[in-house]
């Protein structure tokens, strides 16, 4: 039984790199391993990034992305190429749904009270302050409703267009834009103190 995998890293067929995602999916349906490898090499980072933004954990984000790709490998027909949905949009939705499932299953994690050694070259206080600020932003985003977090992760952090993000989330573009605006207004309010609160209230009027 053949259990070895020819890692394509060194010998990735130049031809597969030239294919679009949709063409690669067509080849993947025929069990083409190079096509799978090319898709993994091409897209792992972007899907990891979304998963990380949703779960705030490297291990879990890597797990989610790995599971999603392995499911794609074992049942490539789950993507219906006949529809108008692009592969990347569809796979964002797969990863996002997995993240939502994982979030609902996981218990709230205790706050990280460990101490990371500060970066060299920075004063300890400055590094601590930066760490606190980052954690504060993370905590504020974590308090947003799931849909607002997703809209923010997709549009703001991943640079996905509003239209594509709306398609991924299965909402209208108007609804997506409303989610984005509310997310930003809440964050301004939480992060900006009184000034932000004032702006947020003006924005809601």
């Amino acid at each position: 039984m053949d259990t070895t995998v020819t890692l394509p890293l060194g010998q990735m067929g130049i031809e597969t790199k030239e294919f679009t995602d949709e063409e690669l999916m067509g080849r993947l349906r025929d069990g083409d391993r190079d096509a799978f490898s090319t898709l993994v090499m091409r897209h792992t980072k972007r899907y990891y990034s979304l998963a990380y933004r949703m779960l705030s954990s490297r291990e879990e984000a890597e797990d989610i992305v790995q599971e999603a790709f392995l499911t794609l490998w074992s049942s490539p027909t789950s993507w219906d190429g006949g529809r108008e949905t692009k592969f990347t949009t569809w796979f964002y939705r797969v990863v996002w749904n997995s993240c939502i499932d994982r979030k609902r299953k996981q218990r709230p994690r205790p706050m990280d009270d460990g101490f990371d050694p500060p970066d060299e070259g920075r004063g300890t206080e400055e590094a601590l302050e930066m760490k606190r600020r980052k954690e504060n932003i993370d905590a504020c985003i974590g308090e947003l409703p799931e849909s607002q977090q997703t809209a923010l992760a997709l549009c703001f952090y991943e640079g996905v267009s509003n239209r594509e993000a709306a398609e991924i989330m299965g909402v209208s573009v108007k609804a997506l834009e409303s989610l984005l605006m509310r997310a930003k207004a809440s964050l301004r309010n939480k992060l900006g103190g009184d000034k932000g609160r004032e702006e947020s209230q003006n924005g809601q009027r």
């Binding site: 995998v5 025929d30 890597e62 993370d138 207004a185």
Partner: protein, 144 residues
Amino acid sequence: MDRDEFLKYLKLYGGDLGRWPSGLGEEARAACAGSLEMREALDQERRFEESLMERVYEEPSPGLEARIISAAASVNKPEPARNSLLGLLNAVFSAIPLPSPAIALPLLLVIGMAAGYLYANYAEQDTDNTQYAEMLYYGEEYYE
């Protein structure tokens, strides 16, 4: 673009004017050039977004891609879709170019009319056959 419009779009599309829908970004740039208030609002939005970018982010482990590709070895290789009946049907139908809806509707109409015409002839012939059989059974005088 007036002030209110600018502020609305600023909240919607963010401080990077390059990411605004085509046309709007240029309009916004031109509007900002003539308004201190708009420039300040833009700067404020950019500072806010920069602060959001400070959020904790960890890069994935090096070699995550290679790990996923290796892990695929332990998962059954997908059978080519044509091996199953469904796959075969799929392959057959995907090989046949199906007409687009614009062509399909008139085509259906023509097929329907042709079927109606043929059926009408067949029904007429059927009536003739029935009459002939009845004539044999009842005798010719029955129809006279």
